[in-house]
């Protein structure tokens, strides 16, 4: 901070004594990181994710889509993995809720979002693929509103990735995405099984510019 008639400390003086200024430098580093992440303080983990789920999710995370934006247009970009809170479920229907921070809501533009989930087909399944319908529900409070839906043919047990459309991306931007998975058979129920197979949404987002103007 410039003070009256005094130059910046980095100007003109001898090299800084590291040991005497260590605490100050650590505080500067912490503040710098928190500011750039738009956080007032370090997050307190309320719902820690099991290590196995984390490892699985990271292995499934695709590389950043560099083709999405030109170099000059690329602001600060984030990739977010949000693990599902599973809600009301029955034998062929599973409700998945994804929560995004208030900071994320409104502060970033969701450019791409995919649902990644593990489907375990029953052992006696024939070669016929099972259809899973993914319903994107409307905003919180209007649970029965259907914003959009996707169909996915599941031919074998394993991880499946489903790109979500604009309605789901908008829901992520607003802080809450609710999905309902409806399966022809018992495939949906198996989504709940195993901590390392927790379904998640991988979203690619970009911080909104402060002075961004939208032209209509």
């Amino acid at each position: 901070t410039p003070r009256a008639a005094r130059p910046c400390p980095a100007c003109g003086g001898p090299a800084l004594d590291l040991e005497n200024h260590r605490e100050l430098l650590l505080e500067l580093a912490k503040r710098s990181i928190l500011d750039k992440l738009h956080l007032r303080q370090r997050p307190t983990l309320s719902r820690p994710v099991p290590r196995a789920a984390l490892r699985t999710a990271l292995q499934r995370l695709p590389g950043p889509p560099q083709w999405l934006l030109g170099e000059a247009d690329r602001g600060q970009e984030y990739e977010i993995i949000s693990f599902a809170d599973t809600g009301l479920s029955d034998i062929n229907q599973t409700r998945l809720d994804f929560h995004f921070s208030e900071r994320t809501a409104g502060g970033v533009e969701v450019r791409q979002a995919s649902l990644v989930f593990f489907a375990q087909l029953p052992p006696n399944t024939t070669q016929t693929p099972t259809t899973v319908k993914v319903l994107v529900l409307g905003p919180r409070g209007t649970n029965l509103t259907l914003a959009s839906q996707h169909l996915l043919k599941v031919r074998a047990s394993g991880w499946h990735q489903l790109p979500l459309g604009p309605a789901a991306q908008a829901a992520c931007s607003q802080g809450h995405l609710a999905l309902e998975l409806v399966a022809e058979s018992q495939v949906a129920q198996s989504l709940l099984g195993g901590a390392s197979r927790r379904p998640f949404v991988a979203a690619q987002v970009r911080a909104r510019g402060k002075h961004r103007v939208r032209r209509r």
Binding site: A10, L16, S32, L37, R47, L54, Q76, E79, F100, S101
Partner: protein, 116 residues
Amino acid sequence: GIECQSGSRMCCRQEFFVDFREIGWHDWIIQPEGYAMNFCTGQCPLHVAGMPGLAASFHTAVLSLLKANTAGGTAAGGSCCVPTARRPLSLLYYDRDSNIVKTDIPDMVVEACGCS
């Protein structure tokens, strides 16, 4: 750029690594294990501001010459030891909702220093 040695007085890059475990942040920052912040420190006499390798750019060298002419060669001519090259810091961390976020924060790691 020049790396700071013990007793360095001229503009140089001082390495400074923040270990996330040491500051108790390793629980919410998954990767990396620390932040190579680094910073610039040291003197920038006016005659150094235009030297290759220390000047930030051709333009700052020209400005330094102008300043030198107007300031009459005093040490307080305004040349500063500043970062001339920086790179982003890639972070993988948990946010408040326990989501995992990966981002590149631009201009966080000082790679080289020079006189403005």
